[in-house]
C-alpha cells in the first residue's frame, strides 16, 4: 500500500549524530511534552540541515472546517545557520490547501506559515516548547477555521530574497483595462536585491527606453488562491492561469501584439505581469476580495515576443510573423516572483492612523516654522485636512534644528518644500497648496488677494502658527471668512504650549481670547512664570510669542503632537477655548490648564471699538454693589490696538486702600497701585497695562458724568497723551457708560 505520507529524501541519523543546537533542544523537549512524539531523524546537505519528523496530536472539535487529522506527521527542518525559522512541513499527502501556507516550488508537502513576525524577533523568546505549541495551535485553529487574520496574509518567510514591486497606483486604480502600463523606475539586480520602485512614465520623455512595461491580468475566480507554487517560466504560468476556453499565452500574445512594440521605446523593457486573483468562498460565489501577485521576465520584451511566437529577430531587428508560432510558449522565458506593494492612499493613511476619515476640514495654515511645519506634517501623514500654507520664509541652515524640512531644501521657500513633501505622500492625491508670501502682502497684491480670498472664504479653519501677535490680529480681523481661527504658539521658554481657539459660531474672537489668556496669567499662580523670558535672552525687543530662542526639537515635537491631536478634535468641539499645556521639565509630564472663557462684549465709540467681556463688567458691578451707598472705583487694566483702534478692557485693580469713598464723591488712592501695575506688566510682558479709570455712581443714578468727572477726564486726557493713548473712563451707575477720547 502506498504510504499516506511524503517521503523526505535525506539520510537517516541516530540521536547521537544530531549537532544543531536548536534541533537537539527540540528533540529533548519532545520527550517532555504531551501530544508530540518522535518519528525519525534525518539529515541533509552534510549536517547543514537536520530534520526531525514528529507526530503530533491536535486539539480538534467534532466538526472541522478544514480537514486536519487528530494525528498529523510533520517534518521540522533545522538549519545550521539558524538564520530562518525552522521549516515545518505537513507530510500527509492529502493535507488540505488552507490559509497561511508558505508558497514553495513544490505544492506538497505543504509548508506551514507559523509566525507573523520576523525570525530575528521570535528568536529572542524562542523555546522549543513554545514552538511545538505554536505548531499544534496552528493545526487546531486551522481545523476550526479560526487561524485567519483578517485581510493581511502572512508574509511568506521562505523567500527572504523576494523582491518588492512598488507600484505607483492603489488597488482601486488597478483594473483589467490596464493591459498596458508604461512604467519607469529603478531597481538593483546585482548584489542585495531590494525592490523595484515604479513610477508612471513621463509622456514627455517617451523617447527614452523604458525599464518596464506592465500588464494586469485578472484570472477567473477560483475558490481561494490559484498560485500554490511558483511557476518558473511563461509556459508554466500559462498552465496555471488557463482554464476552459481561456488561454493565458494567447491573451498575452494578443496584448503584446496590440502594443505595437516596434514603434515604442519598449523593446528593451522587461515585462511585468501583475495578476489579480479574485477570491470567492465557493465556486460561483461572489468575489470577496482580490489577491495580487506579480512576476517579471528576466528577458526583454523583444525576446519575450520572439519566444511566444510573435516575431523573429533578424540582425537585431524585429520581424513580425504573419501567423503566430503556436509552438513557442515561452518555456525558456524565465520569470521571477515579485511581491506587489501598492501606493499608500490617503484613506489608508487615515485608517492606519485611526482617523475618522469622514472629517476632512479645509485648513489654511499661516506660519510654517518649527511648530507649524511639524503640526502640518503630523496631520498630513494621517491624510488629515486639505491645506493651504502661507509663509514667506525660506529655509535657512539654523532652521534645520527644529523644522520638519531637511537639508536639500535649504534656500527654498518653506511652504513650497512642505507642499512638495506632503503631496508626495499619496502620489497623485494632493494634500496641500501654498502661497510663499507674507500674509498681509498677499492682501496687497490684487491678483493673489482674489485667489486667497476664495480659499479663505471656503475654509473651515484658519490656523495662526506665526508666533506673532500682529499676524494673529490680522487673521482675527482682516480676513472675510466664517472659518474658525485658532492660534497655536509656545511661551518664551518653550516650555508651555498655548492654543486659543474660537468656537464654531465665533462668539469670542481670537483677540478677545488672547486678552482673557493674559488675564489668567495675571491671576493664576501656576502661570506666574509663563511669560518670563529665558535667562540667555539677548534681544532688543520683547515678544510674548517667539520661537527664535533656545528650544529643543524634542520640545517642539511634544508641543506639535499635542497641537495635532487638538486640531483633530476641533470639528467635534463647538465652544471656544483657551488652554495651556505645561511641561514638567523634571519628569516630562504635561499638565493642562483650561482658562475660563467669558462672553465677549463689544461697543463702538466713534472710531474706536471697545472690547471687553462679562468678567470685567460683572467685576465692576459687584464692586459698586458692595460699597453702596458709597461710591467706589479703581484703575482699568487692558490693552490698545492702535492700528485697528481697538481698546481691550481686561481687568481692574479695585479701589486702593487709601481711596476716599463717600456717597457722592470718590477719590482713588494709590497705595500699592504702582507695584501691582508693575507686576501685571511684568507677568504679561507688557501686553496688559494701565489704560484708564473707573468709578461708581450712587443707587438710582445714571452714569452721566458730573462736573468733577469732566475735570478728572481732562486730567486723564492730558496724562495719557504723553503715551499717545486716548483717555478712558468708565462710570458705573445703574447702567455702565464708557468714555473714550471724549466725554
Amino acid at each position: 500500500m502506498e504510504s499516506e505520507y511524503v517521503e523526505i529524501s535525506a539520510k537517516a541519523i541516530s540521536l547521537e549524530e544530531l549537532v544543531i543546537p536548536k534541533a537537539k533542544d527540540f528533540l529533548r523537549t519532545i520527550s517532555q511534552l504531551n501530544f508530540v512524539s518522535l518519528n525519525k531523524l534525518l539529515q541533509r546537505d552534510e549536517n547543514k540541515v537536520e530534520i526531525i519528523v514528529i507526530d503530533v496530536e491536535v486539539e480538534l472539535g467534532q466538526r472541522r472546517k478544514n480537514d486536519i487529522k487528530k494525528n498529523e506527521r510533520l517534518a521540522v527542518e533545522f538549519h545550521a545557520t539558524d538564520t530562518q525559522f525552522p521549516e515545518v512541513l505537513a507530510l500527509r499527502k492529502t493535507f488540505p490547501y488552507v490559509p497561511h501556507l508558505n508558497i514553495k516550488d513544490e505544492e506538497i508537502p505543504r509548508s506551514l506559515c507559523l509566525y507573523d513576525q520576523s525570525y530575528e524577533i521570535e528568536r529572542i523568546t524562542w523555546t522549543s516548547a513554545k514552538f511545538i505549541e505554536r505548531i499544534r495551535d496552528w493545526l487546531a485553529l486551522t481545523a476550526k477555521g479560526k487561524l485567519h487574520q483578517p485581510d493581511q496574509p502572512l508574509e511568506p518567510y521562505l523567500h527572504p530574497t523576494i523582491c518588492d514591486l512598488i507600484l505607483p497606483f492603489s488597488k482601486k486604480d488597478i483594473t483589467i483595462d490596464a493591459n498596458f502600463l508604461e512604467l519607469d523606475g529603478y531597481y538593483e539586480m546585482e548584489g542585495k536585491f531590494y525592490s523595484i520602485v515604479l513610477r508612471k512614465a513621463d509622456p514627455k520623455k517617451t523617447k527614452k527606453e523604458l525599464l518596464f512595461v506592465a500588464t494586469v491580468v485578472e484570472t477567473n475566480p477560483l475558490a481561494h488562491g490559484v498560485i500554490r507554487k511558483n511557476p518558473n517560466n511563461i509556459e508554466e504560468l500559462s498552465e496555471l492561469l488557463s482554464y476552459g476556453d481561456y488561454s493565458f499565452i494567447e491573451s498575452l500574445r494578443e496584448r503584446i501584439d496590440s502594443w505595437q512594440c516596434e514603434k515604442k521605446p519598449i523593446l528593451q523593457s522587461k515585462l511585468i505581469i501583475i495578476l489579480r486573483l479574485p477570491k470567492v468562498r465557493e465556486l460561483n460565489g461572489s468575489i470577496e476580495s482580490y489577491e495580487y501577485r506579480a512576476f517579471y521576465t528576466e528577458d526583454s520584451l523583444k525576446k519575450v515576443g520572439e519566444n511566444i511566437g510573435l516575431w523573429d529577430i533578424h540582425e537585431g531587428k524585429v520581424g513580425k510573423l504573419l501567423a503566430v508560432d503556436e509552438n513557442k510558449k515561452g518555456n525558456n522565458l524565465k520569470i521571477n516572483p515579485l511581491n506587489p506593494v501598492f501606493k499608500l492612499s490617503r484613506d489608508e493613511a487615515g485608517s492606519l492612523s485611526d482617523l475618522d476619515s469622514s472629517i476632512t476640514p479645509k485648513i489654511v495654515a499661516v506660519g510654517l516654522g518649527a511648530i507649524g511645519s511639524q503640526v502640518f506634517m503630523n496631520l498630513s501623514k494621517m491624510g488629515y485636512g486639505e491645506w493651504t500654507l502661507i509663509d514667506e520664509d525660506k529655509l535657512l541652515p539654523h532652521n534645520l534644528v527644529r523644522h520638519s524640512l531637511t537639508g536639500p531644501w535649504i534656500g527654498r521657500p518653506k511652504v513650497e518644500a512642505m507642499t512638495f513633501e506632503a503631496n508626495s505622500l499619496f502620489q497623485d492625491e494632493l494634500v496641500s497648496k501654498c502661497f510663499p508670501d507674507n500674509l498681509s502682502k498677499i492682501f496687497q497684491s490684487d491678483e493673489q488677494k482674489l485667489q486667497a480670498c476664495e480659499i479663505f472664504s471656503s475654509s473651515d479653519l484658519i490656523l495662526d502658527m506665526t508666533a506673532s501677535v500682529a499676524a494673529s490680529r490680522f487673521i482675527a480681523h482682516e480676513i472675510d471668512s466664517d472659518a474658525r481661527r485658532i492660534s497655536i504658539f509656545v511661551n518664551p521658554t518653550g516650555r508651555d504650549l498655548v492654543i486659543l481657539s474660537e468656537g464654531k459660531e465665533r462668539k469670542q474672537s481670537l483677540d478677545s481670547l488672547e486678552m482673557q489668556y493674559y488675564r489668567e496669567i495675571v491671576s493664576n499662580n501656576n502661570l506666574k512664570e509663563h511669560l518670563k523670558l529665558p535667562k540667555n535672552h539677548h534681544r532688543y525687543a520683547n515678544s510674548c510669542r517667539d520661537v527664535s530662542f533656545v528650544l529643543s526639537q524634542d520640545s517642539v515635537a511634544l508641543h506639535s503632537a499635542i497641537a495635532s491631536k487638538y486640531l483633530k478634535s476641533v470639528p467635534k468641539q463647538d465652544d471656544s477655548s483657551a488652554s495651556i499645556w505645561k511641561t514638567n521639565l523634571d519628569d516630562f509630564t504635561v499638565s493642562k490648564i483650561d482658562i475660563p472663557i467669558y462672553e465677549q462684549r463689544v461697543f463702538s465709540i466713534g472710531e474706536w471699538t471697545i472690547v471687553t467681556d462679562n468678567y470685567f463688567i460683572e467685576k465692576l458691578e459687584k464692586a459698586r454693589e458692595a460699597k453702596l451707598p458709597n461710591e467706589t472705583g479703581g484703575v482699568i487694566v487692558g490693552s490698545y490696538d492702535m492700528e485697528r483702534k481697538r481698546c481691550y478692557l481686561v481687568d481692574s485693580i479695585l479701589s486702593p486702600e487709601d481711596s476716599k469713598e463717600w456717597p457722592t464723591v470718590y477719590i482713588r488712592g494709590s497705595r500699592g497701585l504702582r507695584q501691582k501695575l508693575k507686576s501685571i506688566e511684568e507677568s504679561t510682558l507688557g501686553m496688559l497695562e494701565y489704560i484708564g479709570e473707573w468709578h461708581s455712581h450712587p443707587k438710582g443714578c445714571s452714569p452721566a458724568p458730573s462736573s468733577d468727572d469732566r475735570k478728572a477726564f481732562l486730567w486723564l486726557t492730558e496724562v495719557m497723551s504723553t503715551n499717545g493713548h486716548p483717555a478712558l473712563m468708565v462710570i458705573v451707575g445703574e447702567i455702565m457708560a464708557f468714555y473714550l477720547g471724549t466725554m
Binding site: L33, N34, F35, E57, V58, E59, L60, G61, Q62, R63, R64, K65, K70, A129, I132, E133, R136, A140, K144
Partner: protein, 369 residues
Amino acid sequence: MSKLKFHNLGNADSCLVNTSGRTILIDYANTKEADNDDDKRVDLPKELDEFLEENDISSFDAVLFTHADNDHIKGFADYFYLEHADKYQSDERKKINELWVPAAVIVEKNLKDDAKILRAEARHRLKEGERILIFSKPDEIVKWMEDNDIDPKEREHLFVNAGDLVPSFSLSKDSFEVFVHSPFKATVDEKEIDRNDAAVCVQFTFNEGNEITKFIAGADITHPVWSDIVNTTKHFGNEHRLEWDIFKISHHCSYLSLSDEQGDGDVATEPVDEVEWLFEQGNDGCVLVSSSKEIPDNDDDKQPPHRQAAKFYKKVASKFEGDFIVTMENPKNNPQPTEITIDEDGATLKKRNYASASVISSRPAPRAG
C-alpha cells in the same frame, strides 16, 4: 460556548458544567489528602473557588449529587452553605440554588457522616418546599412526607421522574436541557437500596450556534440498570436521548457497568447487548471520560478501574476517531482537570501542554529546607 470540567480526584467524581451563564456541579468529592504533596488529585474546593472567582459567580445554580456514596459527596458539608443548620452557614460557604438528589437520599436509613448531613439538608429543603429537585417519587418518600405532616400534593413540583426533562432549564430559554434516565421508581422501593442503581443518570443537550452536542453523565450505573435504561428508552422511542458526544463513563471504569464478565488479561470486556448498543450511539470525534485512577496493567486490584473495561472504551473512542480520557492520566504524571469546550464545532477536548507557570501556580511549591 459551554464548558465541562472533569476534576482529577482518583476514583471519585466532580464535573462542572458551565453553560449560558449557568453553573451546575455534578457531584462533589474532595478526595485529596491535605498536606500530601505527592497526591496528584486536584484540590477541589480551591479549584472551584478559583473558577467562581474568575467568572464572578457567587453560587451554583444547581448541584446534583448522583448518589450519596463517599466518592460523590465526600467533604461536601465542609464546602457548601447548608440551610438546615447554622453551623454550615459561614460567609465563605457556597450556596446551592437548587439541590438535585435521587429519592434514595431522603429515605435511606442508618446513615452517618456526609450522607447523613446530605439527608438532613435534603429533608429540610423538602419540608421548606423549595430549592430542591428530587429524582423519582417512590412510595417510600410519599409515606415519609405523610409521616412528617407534609401534603405530598403540595410538593409535586419538587419531583422529576425518569423519562422527563428537568423543569429548571429549557433548550429554548437556556440553550440546554437535562433529560432524566434514572432512577426508576422500582429501584428505590426495594427493601435494600443499592445506591449505585438508584443513582441519578442524566443526558445534557446543548445548543451552541444551532449545533447540538450531547453529554451523558453515567454516574455509577451498573450494566443491568443500563440495560433497563436502554430498553425503556427504546420502548418509548426516545433513542435520541441516548445519543452522546461526551460520555462520563460509569463507576470509574468498572467492568460491572458493561457486563458481569470482566474478560481475561489483555482482552476487552464484552458488554451485554444493550450496553454495546449504547456505545454505538456516539458521534464522530466523541470523548469518553473515565473519572478514575490510572488504568493498571494487571488485575491485582479488584476495585476499578479495570484494564479490560478501559480497553473496550478505547475501542469505542478509536472507532469514532475520538478520545478516551482518564482523569488521573490527563496528562500522565501531572494530571490537571480535563476540560471540554462545546461550541458550533461540537465538543473539543482541550489538549494543551501546560505552561510551567500555570502548573507551578496551581499547586503549592515543594517544601524547601
